[in-house]
Each structure stands twice: as structure tokens, then as C-alpha cells.
Amino acid sequence: MGGALVRMVGIGKRYGGVQACRAIDFTLGAGEVHALLGENGAGKSTLMRILSGDVTDYDGQIEIDGTPVGFSGPPDAQAAGIAMIHQELDLVPGLSVADNIFLGRELRTPLRTVDRRRMEGSARALLARSGVRLDPRRPVGELRVGEQQLVTIAKAISLDARVLIMDEPTSALTTAEVERLFDVIRELRRAGVGIVYISHRMEEIAQIADRATVLRNGEVVTSFDPRALSTAEVVEAMVGRPVQTMFTTAETDTGAEVLRVESLKLTARRPRPGRRDPDGISLTVRAGEIVGLAGLLGAGRTELLETLYGVAPRGAVEGRIFLQGKEIRPRSPRQALAHGIGLVPEDRRTSGLVLFHSILANTVVSSLPAYGRLGVIARRQERAASVGMAERMRLKFGRLQDEVGTLSGGNQQKVVFGRMLLTEPRLLLLDEPTRGVDVGAKAEIYRLLGELAGQGLGVLLASSELPELVGVCDRVVVLRDGRDVASFSTANSGEGELLAAAMGELQ
């Protein structure tokens, strides 16, 4: 594999009381895809932010091609050929796709003005390379999360970097997009680019990585060739103990109907480009049942959940929604919560959390009336609830007063999840609830789901991860273009059939 392209030696980084990285040695060769694994909060993102010049005060040494470097900011790193796709999608919502891709290094005309046409052309080509058809003139703010992720990928690729760091690039992508991304990665590898690949989707690791390094609590635990190990072995290396990754709820098909949706259709008063509102969807969820929602990017899963939760754009709603036999039509999250419907939204940073507020405030905000009387909070109860949630979710945190934004991505997701559980819902709507959550914690969440289902909760789970749908759900409904096109029992169908239905190759 030739000499090391990047060598990081003895890297350490502290945040207050948290040692995010300690004495980490890490090397990356040219043409190598090096997977970085570890539980949430293990220090993966921090290590890579150091390499990409985002974090500048750290201990240790970085060498590129054998020469020591010290970056004073991301532009330095980019100049040295290092590009990073950040875990949290850092794009400017008001600027167009093309402007975002070329932000900070705009293409110019001979008159030094921005060459808009050339930028749009290049953007279109770059997007096409990762297999998306997106108008480069659209403002990024109105794109789907998945589409935004593809834009950040295109942006990183456009840097023509020698080192490309991908921090959970596929967390909002479905199988089809992931396949195309892998094609691109293979192409880059052939061109000698060194790639660091971070993901919590274990099946991807074996597929794409040449080498894997596992971090735990900021330290390197082991390094191995993932192709030589089974997924279960990889997971065990990561978590430190064997984990049963998938759960299926006991067949409690006798449960009463919690949710019934009959030909639900939303005609928005002011349609937005790219939205796929429900266009005739029928399904049911029984008590104790976990029903999956499958579909490609833009199939309308998120929009269905939003409509059920009362946050869809204003417009005419046709069809009927029954909750435990009673017809309802939630017009706001408040009403939905009052009915016992909870939602874990897809984008935790923009829709889920107040990042600079405490873990405590973020966990209890939906269930406040439960902790006091006459509008006065009983602080002890509130704390107890928050601590209980943190334990139940195995949250990795310092103190409850810490800002939720300082948690690692996966742990932030757990806070959003835990908050909804505290409202004690009868029906839980989950939109990519395990995005960025590590395998161990995922297993934890699945176990919890199973437990809650056992107590009679109904769950509707939209996910882009086919293994998750097949492994966790009792039944999966496939959406395409805002319609339900198929329904499978996971007992007797697999990922292939789901994918085919989603892509429209099956009736």
C-alpha cells in the first residue's frame, strides 16, 4: 500500500472534563479506504476534525507525506489536500446548491466576477457523478436531508483531495444512493485517494473498507482487516462484548388496532418543490406491533409521519385517521401529543434540539406538565425523569446541565428519542430514529422498542436502513411517490424484495 499518506501520532484532545482523544496513533495510506469505528462519543469525529484543521488545539503530531504539518484552519488543510464531509450537514440554507459546493473557492470569470454558469455546470456534473439529479440553482434550505447529504458529498469530491474524510456520509441515504456512493469511492481509491470512512452501518464496512480501526473512550482498541471478520465479530471488537444486533418483537398479532389510516391524501395549499405529500396511503398499526416504512429518497415517508403528527403544510386533507378506533385529525404537535402520538424527527439538530440548552431542559420539554402542579416545576421529579431516561438510553454524558450540543451525534439522537418516551405515547412515529447511533445503542433502542411494544405501544418506523427494517419490524409498508405500494411480513420476506418494491420493480 506504499508509504503512509497521513500519519497521526499521539493525538490527544480534551473538552473540559472529557478526554475525547488520548494518545491516538492513526495512519492512512494512498488508495486505502480506512474505516474508523467506535461507539457514540468514542472520539471519531474529534480525531478527524483535528486532521481537517477544524480543531486546532490538540496534543500530538500530524505528518503528511512524512512532513509534519500544523493547520491553523480548514483552508490550510484543504490546501494540503485534505477534505472532510462533516457529520452534521454544514451547509448555508440560503445559498444555492452550486454556491454551497464552491463556497470559499468560487470559480471566477476573467473579470474576477463569479462564473455562475461554470459553477452550475460543474455542480451538475458532480452531482450526476454521485447519481443525483438535482437542480444546482435550488436553495439548499429546501432540500431533503438525504439530498443535502449528497450535496456535501459532491462538495467534498469537488475538492479533488488526496485525503477524503467521510464522517457518516450515508446516515440519511437509502441503499440505492449508498451503492452509487460506493462506486465513486472505489473510483477514488483507484486514483490513489486515501479515504477515512466513518459509519455505524456495519454491513457497509465489510463492503467497502480495506482496513478498520476501532476507538473506544478516545483510545485505539484494535485495528484489523474487516473483510476477514464477520459483522458480529466486528461489532464485538467495537463494543467490547457480543451484541445481539437485531430484535423482533414477540408475535403479538392479537393486539387491538392503534392506528388506522384510510386513503390519506394531502393537497397542500402552497406546494413546495421536492415535497411528496401523501397521495392516498392506507395502513394500520396494532398495539405491540412495529410497522416499518420503506422507500427511496423522496418516497414520502417523512411527509406521512409529519401529516400524522399535525405538522404538514396547510392544505386539504382527504381520507381518515383513526387512533384506537376514534377518528382524529391533529392540527399541531400539541394536539398529536395530547392524543398520545409522539414523533422523533429526522433532523435532530434543526428539528429536535436546542443545541445550547442543557440535556435536562431538552429531555423534559415535551412532558413538563407531568412534573409539577399549577405551572410550577417540581425540580426533583424533573431531574429524576431525566436521569431515568439517560440510564434507560445508556446516554454517555457528563452532567445533566451540560449543553446537549457537546454530546456526540449519536448521544444527541438518544436525547430526542428519550424525550418522546417520557411523554408515554400510545403511538410512536419514528423518522430515522437511529441515524448516527452506534450498534450497541441501536440494540438498546431496539430492545426498548420491543419492550414498549410488549406493553401495547404501536410503532411506525421510517428507515433508510433495510437491515434495520427487516430485523426490527413485524411488517413493512413500502411507499413510492406518496402511495403505499406493497406490504410485507418480515417473517417471510427479505431485503431484496423490499428494495425491488421500493424501486418499482415489483407489484
Partner: protein
């Protein structure tokens, strides 16, 4: 407690750093007469706090508005409207003390609530709504008072205000504490306690921190916004009543520019104009800082132009002090 956590605890009260620094400077630079430091005389301190009590009351309401990420430019005009209102009602209409004061407070509350509704329901930026509110309130005050200050005379006769109203301007606790200061203190303490213990305050901070997330978490965003603007209007009206009793008149031009002073007190107190971050305690410290600064400059008879320069520099310095972070 480790040394680190002591420092950290200290820094939690960062918003009073600026105030402390200014107070120390005031004591050092205070003129002396017969060996007595004029600044720290009981009388002078009472004056300092009384001079900031109106801005302080307004600034408490403004803190709420800024915490939800809004702004209220109408408070100065509302103060004028309330001052005119209480004078006209008590003097010209011969209403009693309670009915007048209650009606004026209700006007402030409703006016604020309407502004809140316009920004929460139609989604117009609160800057614009309350800029319009400023003009409307000022216009109403001028019309109500026929454009002239309405003098308040006390007595039982016709066109005289009840003597009970004059009480609001008196001093209490042995002639030491002016009632306006007491009102300010009560308002501030009530607001601080309210923000600490109420469920509503969690909602308020959530709306300011991330409105979308708050809505998805089931926070009644519209209701919170309307309530917050209503509270701000109510407190501005209360300040207007205090203003009228202190100056013995209600004039439609009262309170011009007070909105900037109130916002300055809030922001110097460490509350972020972006919303979701800040405290009423900081605002009180900010208002006192401005009051002490004005007082010490006046006691030293600094030229009013030089005063402007010094005030500008001190404000920046106070704000810079708050950017310090403990080196843990």
C-alpha cells in the same frame, strides 16, 4: 470544591462583573465632601436606583421578549401612552385610583398581546410589528392628551387625582426606599423566580432557542409568544404609571428612546439577541450598571459630550468582560 469549580461558579455570575467593576470605579472616582464619599451616600444610592427603576421595569419585560428571539420597540411609546392614560383617567375623567391603574395595565397587556399575535400568527418580524406599534401608541397618546402634557394635581375635588396615587411616588422604609424602586425590585424578583420555577419559562427558552424544535416538542409556540409580548406591554404600562406619578404629569412625549436603553440593559446583562440565552438577573445588573455610570459621570460634572464618549467605551468594555471564559 476544586479550584476549577470555584472559578466556574464565579463565571456563572459573569453578568455582574461589569456592574461590580463600574461600582468600584464609581467609588474611586466619586467626589468627596468633608471626607464623605458622595456616591455611596444612602440618598444618592436611592437616587441611582430610582433613576433606573422605570427602564429596569421595562427591561425585565424586554428580557422575556428577547429570550424568545424577538424585540419590542414599542415600550417607550407604551410608557408614554400609559402615563397619559393614568393622568387623563384620574384627573380629567375623575376615575378612582384602582380603576384607572387597572385600565391602563389592561391597555398595555392587550396592546402587547396584539403585537404578539401579529408576529406569531402572521409571522411578521417583531421588529416591524413593534416599530409600527411604537408609532400607533405614540399617536394614540397624542390624541388622548390633545398633544399636551396632562398635569396631575392631588385632592378630592373634580379634576384632581386621588391622593392614594401619589403614594406610588413616595419613599418607604423610613424614607429610604422610593416606592418605584420597590416596584422594580418586586417585578425583578418575581420575574427571576418565575423563570426559575415555572414550566412556562422552559417553553419560553425553548421557543427562543429553536422554534421549530419547540413546536415539534409540543410547545404552544403561538401562545408563548403572545403571552410574552403581553407581559412586556403590561410592564411598560406599569413603568408608565410609575413615570406619571414621579413627574406629576402624563405627557405624550414621555419615554422617547427608552426602548434602546431597555434593550441595552438587557444585552449588557448578557442576554443574546438571538434568543434562548440570558437571564433577568443579568438585565437587572445591566440596568444598574447604566444607572451607576450615568450617576458617577454626572456627579463629576463631566462635559456631556465627553460623557457620550466615556459611556460608549464603558459599555463596550462591560460587554467584552462578559466574553471572558474560565480557562479550565
Amino acid at each position: 470544591m476544586t479550584k476549577n469549580s470555584v472559578v466556574a461558579t464565579l463565571f456563572r455570575f459573569q453578568s455582574v462583573f461589569g456592574l461590580l467593576a463600574v461600582v468600584v470605579a464609581a467609588i474611586i472616582f466619586s467626589p468627596r465632601k468633608n471626607g464623605a464619599i458622595l456616591f455611596v451616600s444612602a440618598d444618592n444610592l436611592a437616587n441611582v436606583v430610582r433613576a433606573v427603576s422605570e427602564i429596569g421595569i421595562i427591561a425585565v419585560g424586554m428580557t422575556f421578549v428577547i429570550l424568545i428571539g424577538g424585540i419590542d420597540l414599542s415600550v417607550g411609546a407604551m410608557l408614554g401612552l400609559a402615563a397619559v392614560g393614568s393622568a387623563v383617567l384620574m384627573v380629567e375623567s375623575d376615575w378612582g385610583f384602582l380603576p384607572s391603574v387597572l385600565l391602563v395595565l389592561v391597555i398595555g397587556l392587550v396592546f402587547g398581546a396584539l403585537q404578539g399575535a401579529a408576529t406569531a400568527m402572521i409571522g411578521i418580524q417583531s421588529f416591524i410589528v413593534t416599530l409600527a406599534g411604537l408609532q400607533i401608541a405614540r399617536g394614540l397618546a397624542r390624541i388622548w392628551s390633545d398633544g399636551q402634557g396632562v398635569a396631575i394635581a392631588y385632592g378630592d375635588g373634580p379634576n384632581e387625582a386621588p391622593a392614594s396615587f401619589a403614594l406610588l411616588g413616595e419613599r418607604t422604609f423610613g424614607g429610604l426606599v422610593p416606592i418605584p424602586v420597590l416596584i422594580f425590585a418586586v417585578v425583578a424578583v418575581a420575574a427571576i423566580v418565575f423563570l426559575r420555577v415555572s414550566a412556562f419559562s422552559r417553553h419560553l427558552y425553548a421557543v427562543g432557542g429553536n422554534e421549530k424544535a419547540a413546536r415539534l416538542s409540543g410547545v404552544p409556540v403561538v401562545r408563548v409568544k403572545v403571552a410574552v409580548f403581553a407581559i412586556c406591554g403590561l410592564l411598560a404600562a406599569l413603568a408608565g404609571i410609575v413615570h406619571a406619578v414621579q413627574l406629576n404629569q402624563g405627557s405624550p412625549n414621555d419615554g422617547i428612546g427608552y426602548e434602546l436603553d431597555a434593550i441595552a440593559a438587557v444585552v449588557i446583562g448578557g442576554t443574546s439577541l438571538a434568543g434562548g440565552r440570558g437571564s433577568v438577573a443579568g438585565t437587572v445588573a445591566g440596568a444598574l450598571l447604566l444607572g451607576v455610570l450615568n450617576n458617577i459621570l454626572a456627579l463629576n460634572n463631566i462635559d456631556s459630550n465627553i460623557q457620550l464618549l466615556i459611556k460608549g467605551l464603558v459599555i463596550v468594555a462591560a460587554a467584552a468582560l462578559q466574553r471572558l471564559r474560565p480557562a479550565s
